[in-house]
Symmetry: C2
Subunit: 303 residues, 2 copies
């Protein structure tokens, strides 16, 4: 399978490296890491075992990659404006586009640009960070759950999942991509939001009882909004408790939005906060805490 990784951050580099190690023809669209990777290759420091890829096909523009079987999108959502330019040269007639980006609205955005039938989406439960140029650190987890944007091509989805799995990626398919996206938001909204706002890792947020209670209240607001969206199955409130327990096991993990803020990058407020708020509002769901967290994040982001 010829694959293009668009957005080669901690997520794109990690999954791309596994796919290449698994025998696929992987092309990375690179920016800041280009020189380092072309000179020294790509090194993955992983809880599952370190490995090094001495020869990597890196590119600074998509034209040199050409048509591929699969585009994997890992770009930060605040850079979505550039997706048309970055993906257009990668499209052959049969090319599928899989977005693993955060939040809501990414499949819709790509479908408007390139047609719904090409689009798949997924959520990654991956704890990874970039190290020095050419190095990526995989700290924990790594599962991907993928689904079709429209339910038109289940065979393609199963083929991709099988390819990912054979490359050592923990990959499942889901019939209801929307539900999977909302379930991820149950984690992303409290933990990305509060950690970025307060400059605190997830363990700190869960230590103080009042803040742990707030995390759960935010989760319940997400669940209420999710369950207004005609999902295949409702998300039970106890899903919040399982997410709290899951996160207790993560230790001093810093969510991506905290790292974005620490490094002075833009925050993914639109995809992770504004879009879910808008979907909830359309069904008159009350989300005062998510609204407040969003306002506070925008207030610090415009600092």
């Amino acid at each position: 399978m010829k694959v293009a990784m668009v957005g080669s951050g901690a997520l794109g580099l990690y999954y791309g490296a596994l796919l290449q190690k698994g025998g696929h023809e992987v092309h990375f669209l690179l920016r800041s890491d280009y020189e380092a990777i072309m000179n020294n290759g790509l090194t993955v420091h992983s809880v599952n075992g370190d490995f090094h890829l001495p020869a990597v096909s890196g590119h600074t523009s998509p034209e040199t990659i050409g048509g591929v079987d699969l585009v994997v999108v890992g770009l930060k959502t605040f850079a979505n404006d550039s997706l048309h330019t970055l993906i257009k040269p990668l499209l052959a007639e049969h090319t599928g586009i899989l977005t693993l980006q955060n939040g809501l609205g990414n499949e819709e955005y790509l479908a408007d640009l390139f047609g719904s039938e090409r689009i798949m989406g997924g959520v990654a439960f991956l704890c990874s960070n970039r190290g020095e140029p050419g190095h990526v650190h995989h700290l924990a987890a790594g599962r991907i759950i993928i689904g079709e944007y429209l339910k038109c091509n289940e065979q393609r989805l199963e083929d991709i999942a099988a390819a990912f799995t054979s490359a050592g990626i923990d990959c499942k398919t889901a019939g209801d991509l929307k539900k999977v996206r909302w379930e991820k938001l149950v984690w992303n909204i409290p933990f990305n939001g509060l950690s970025a706002l307060l400059f605190q890792s997830v363990d700190r947020l869960l230590q103080v009882p009042e803040c742990r209670k707030l995390v759960r209240e935010l989760m319940v607001e997400v669940i209420m909004a999710a369950n207004s969206q005609e999902l295949s199955h409702a998300i039970p409130e106890k899903y919040a408790d399982s997410m709290l327990e899951f996160t207790d096991g993560m230790g001093v993990y810093k969510p991506s939005m905290l790292i974005d803020r620490e490094e002075g990058r833009e925050l993914e407020i639109q995809a992770i906060f504004r879009a879910p708020l808008e979907y909830g509002r359309q069904h008159a769901v009350s989300m005062p805490r998510i609204e407040m967290l969003t306002a506070l994040l925008e207030q610090v982001a415009t600092r």
Copy 2:
């Protein structure tokens, strides 16, 4: 009138200086400013005109002051534990105690220690900051509204208001001290809380429409809680709009809690947040945003 200022921060120094300038016998209980004030006196830099008091009666313990007519309490509420020790030596049979501290619960606390009939309370609408030791900066406003804790001694209250007024302090009396305290909280809860949380002055909070909206929503939650407390008159929702306009005129003002946080002091979370929340909860008032702001402040305070 012999007056003891207990808690000589920006508020105590400013009002004490005016009372001394107005001819009263004022004794200041001092800590960090003691040396500077004993050596060089007290300087007030005020929008109403600067003045200097070369000789000030400063004390490091209340025993050297002895019994007074009036104790004015300006101590930070997180130091309330020390009030028994600080005030006890100042009490003669007729001594009144006027607390100008922030938030709720201070009259009750003092009444438990020294008897209800001694206690008066008040709120100060004062923009002032401490400068270098021995200097206080009065930036704007300055009105005090005072009331009896029990309605047992209205004449005493009028006498004190007259003494304050003749010393150049803008002082009014109120029959319903509880209402005055809650009205002050309509300002204190959003502006002290958000400014301390975000390290932003009040003008910044009002610039971005989403945050201005949040400020107003917090104010409305305070008003709802206030109106559950059997006040003499309900506070109308439009009081929030008048507070927003009032604050628009304050410019780059930093509320006391922001300065407390910048200087690494404890935050007055109990008096300004926890106590009002508890009063509201007793009447089943929903205050999700105030609860969330309180949790966030506690989270950064325990950092």
